[in-house]
């Protein structure tokens, strides 16, 4: 007889065997596997898509800010002490231009009570919410507004009944192109549409306006010559310094009646607001993931109940409790990994197609995928823990007693 302690020792499973053992349930019940992995997939897809879409949107804003610059400052009249609307002095532009670091200055002035219509047959009340501005010819360089069609106003056309339409204004008026025969009615006079702008993110007021030359506005529309917004650009390093003196320079007599703002700040604020919303949506995705995890746990519990005979057989073949535990844990992890991978792909696809539809650069931060993977593994491990422990504790004899 051999001695009681001989070289028999429980063996370790080969990694390939662990994966194959974990795949038994997936192979024998593919529909159930797919359905339970679907929950995880939806959760991960939701989270990846939320992060991906908000990252893409942010990347787009960053790209916009990069191309537009963050060194644009605007000056507008505020209110007087008595609450009436203030006016900027006529010389405000010249004063601002004299600030040392200011690189360029331009201005627009709202032409009061002047509406824009496509034809004379449109009822007067249907203004379309469009305003009319007198603009300087150097406005485009300072604000970064770009043309979609036609040309910008020049020294000559600024004296004539010529108009450039903002992006939204052109849409509302139903003007698709700029041509000599395309005319709109501005303040009761026919103006030829010489150009159409693209949306101007740093000067959104231009989008809903008809822009006419400064002299033309004074001659033909009764414009009073007071600027309502002065735009300035300065070197990035000097923006803060310029900002601190801008109000007093524009209106030395009443610096408190001036509003100074930095339009790029509004875009950045929009971005911050988006981030808060993203966090909320991420929470929703996490709940979906949790529900998916419960689905996997449920599947695993049923799987263990159904496969008692298999567990008993494996124990008879020499599986230790650890082997059985490993098998069911591997199955749970495989299920989750399956769902997680599908979810990540789905989320990426949703991000890519949404970004494409918005004209954004599709961005999926690598940490999203890493985080998704980590979440998947965690959910799989937690969901499989109890069923795996339960399976490993089944006595081999009970497991083999087939009903």
């Amino acid at each position: 007889m051999r001695p009681a302690v001989d070289g028999i020792r429980p063996s370790r499973l080969w990694p390939g065997d662990v994966v194959r053992g974990g795949a038994v349930g997936l192979r024998t019940r593919p529909l159930r596997a797919v359905l339970s992995a679907l929950g995880i997939a939806i959760g991960i897809a939701a989270m990846v898509a939320v992060v991906g879409i908000s990252s893409s949107s942010r990347a787009d804003l960053d790209r916009t800010l990069d191309s537009l610059g963050t060194n644009l400052l605007t000056v507008s009249p505020g209110r007087t002490m008595s609450g009436a609307e203030a006016k900027l002095p006529l010389r405000a532009e010249d004063m601002v231009a004299r600030i040392g670091p200011v690189a360029s200055v331009s201005a627009i002035g709202e032409v009061a009570d002047t509406n824009v219509y496509r034809t004379a047959r449109i009822p007067e009340a249907e203004t379309g919410g469009l305003a009319t501005y007198a603009v300087r010819t150097d406005l485009r360089a300072t604000t970064g507004a770009r043309l979609r069609a036609g040309t910008w106003l020049n020294a000559a056309t600024a004296r004539h009944p010529a108009v450039v339409l903002g992006a939204t204004a052109a849409e509302r008026l139903g003007v698709g192109r700029a041509a000599p025969e395309v005319r709109v009615l501005v303040g009761g006079e026919w103006f030829t549409v010489v150009g159409i702008l693209r949306p101007a993110p740093l000067a959104p007021e231009l989008d809903v306006a008809a822009l006419v030359g400064w002299p033309a506005a004074q001659d033909r529309l009764g414009f009073d010559g007071h600027a309502t917004t002065v735009y300035t650009r300065s070197a990035d390093a000097d923006v803060a310094a310029v900002r601190s003196v801008l109000g007093a320079t524009a209106n030395p007599a009443a610096p408190n009646e001036v509003e100074v703002s930095r339009p790029s700040d509004a875009l950045a604020a929009k971005r911050a607001a988006g981030e808060a919303f993203t966090r909320l949506l991420l929470g929703v995705g996490a709940v979906a993931l949790l529900v998916g995890g419960v689905g996997v746990a449920n599947t695993m519990v049923i799987s263990v109940l159904e496969r008692r005979t298999e567990i008993g057989l494996r124990r008879a073949l020499g599986a230790t409790r650890g082997h059985v535990r490993t098998q069911f844990l591997a199955e749970s992890l495989l299920l989750s990994a399956l769902g997680g991978t599908a979810g990540a792909l789905l989320g990426a696809a949703v991000t890519a197609s949404y970004a494409a539809s918005q004209g954004w650069p599709p961005v999926i931060p690598p940490w999203t995928l890493a985080g998704g993977l980590a979440a998947t593994v965690t959910v799989g491990a937690l969901a499989g823990l109890y069923p795996a422990l339960h399976a490993s504790r089944l006595p081999p004899t009970t497991a083999l007693a087939t009903p």
Binding site: M1, R2, P3, A4, D6, I8, R9, P10, S11, R12, L13, W14, G16, D17, G21, V24, R27, T28, T309, E310, L313, R314, R315, A316, L317, G318, A319, T320, R321, G322, H323, P395, P396, T397, L400, T402
Partner: protein
């Protein structure tokens, strides 16, 4: 190979399945354990197969004191020293005969390629060389049981336990399976067949009859006494 000393097994609820069984089976024997339902046959199989521990008494299997081994140790003992054949075959559905047999060696620590090599060899030995890529539902009952025997024998265990191996088979298939068990025994494996079929038991060299948890009759008592006498 097997040494049971005064083994009892009482289940929770007070049912006594084994009431003091002592049994010695030497290496190379072919033994039938018989008895009516409720006589303790199944419990005997569980104790012999180290699937269950006795309430009291000593159990030595293949030289190991079962009481001294941990659960993991018992698992290793089953993986390396004991082969099982069940009445219901317990083959994995949707898995080929070859993989079913190779998976019988899953817990021995052998490399996958070696497991397949051995599975091929043992399937040829049980006459199923032409059926290796068939799945269980494509095999007859007799063929399935031969796959199960191949799985039990793949690791060359010194002890093979068969629980009603012919219970689900017709006479001809059953005879073929018994023949296989005999061949394995002739090659040196100790085989214990648990069965309630008297005809099957009568064909085997030694019969142990259980009744109410005790050994009622041991057909080889006299033979073994002689043999032990010669050895001494």
């Amino acid at each position: 190979m097997i040494e049971l000393t005064n083994v009892t097994k009482t289940y929770a609820g007070g049912v006594t399945a084994l009431a003091g069984v002592s049994l010695r089976v030497a290496a190379g024997e072919l033994v039938a354990v018989t008895g009516p339902s409720g006589s303790g046959k199944s419990t005997m199989l569980h104790v012999l197969g180290t699937l269950d521990r006795p309430t009291s008494g000593g159990v030595r299997i293949a030289g190991y004191d079962v009481g001294a081994l941990s659960d993991a140790g018992l698992s290793a003992l089953r993986a390396h020293r004991i082969g099982f054949v069940f009445q219901q075959f317990h083959l994995a559905g949707g898995t080929t005969a070859l993989d079913n047999v190779a998976d019988g060696l899953l817990y021995t620590g052998l490399r996958p390629a070696e497991r397949r090599r051995r599975a091929v060899r043992v399937l040829h030995r049980v006459g199923l060389g032409h059926r290796m890529e068939h799945r269980p539902h494509e095999l007859s009952g007799g063929e399935r049981q031969r796959v199960a025997v191949a799985r039990a024998a793949a690791g060359d265990p010194p002890l093979l336990l068969a629980d009603e191996p012919t219970g689900a088979l017709d006479t001809a298939s059953g005879a073929r399976v018994v023949e296989l068990l005999r061949e394995l025994n002739e090659a040196g494996t100790t085989v214990v067949v648990i069965t309630h079929e008297r005809e099957l038991a009568a064909e085997l060299p030694r019969q142990v009859r259980l009744r109410d948890g005790r050994v009622e009759q041991d057909g080889a008592e006299r033979d073994r006494a002689e043999r032990d006498g010669v050895r001494a």
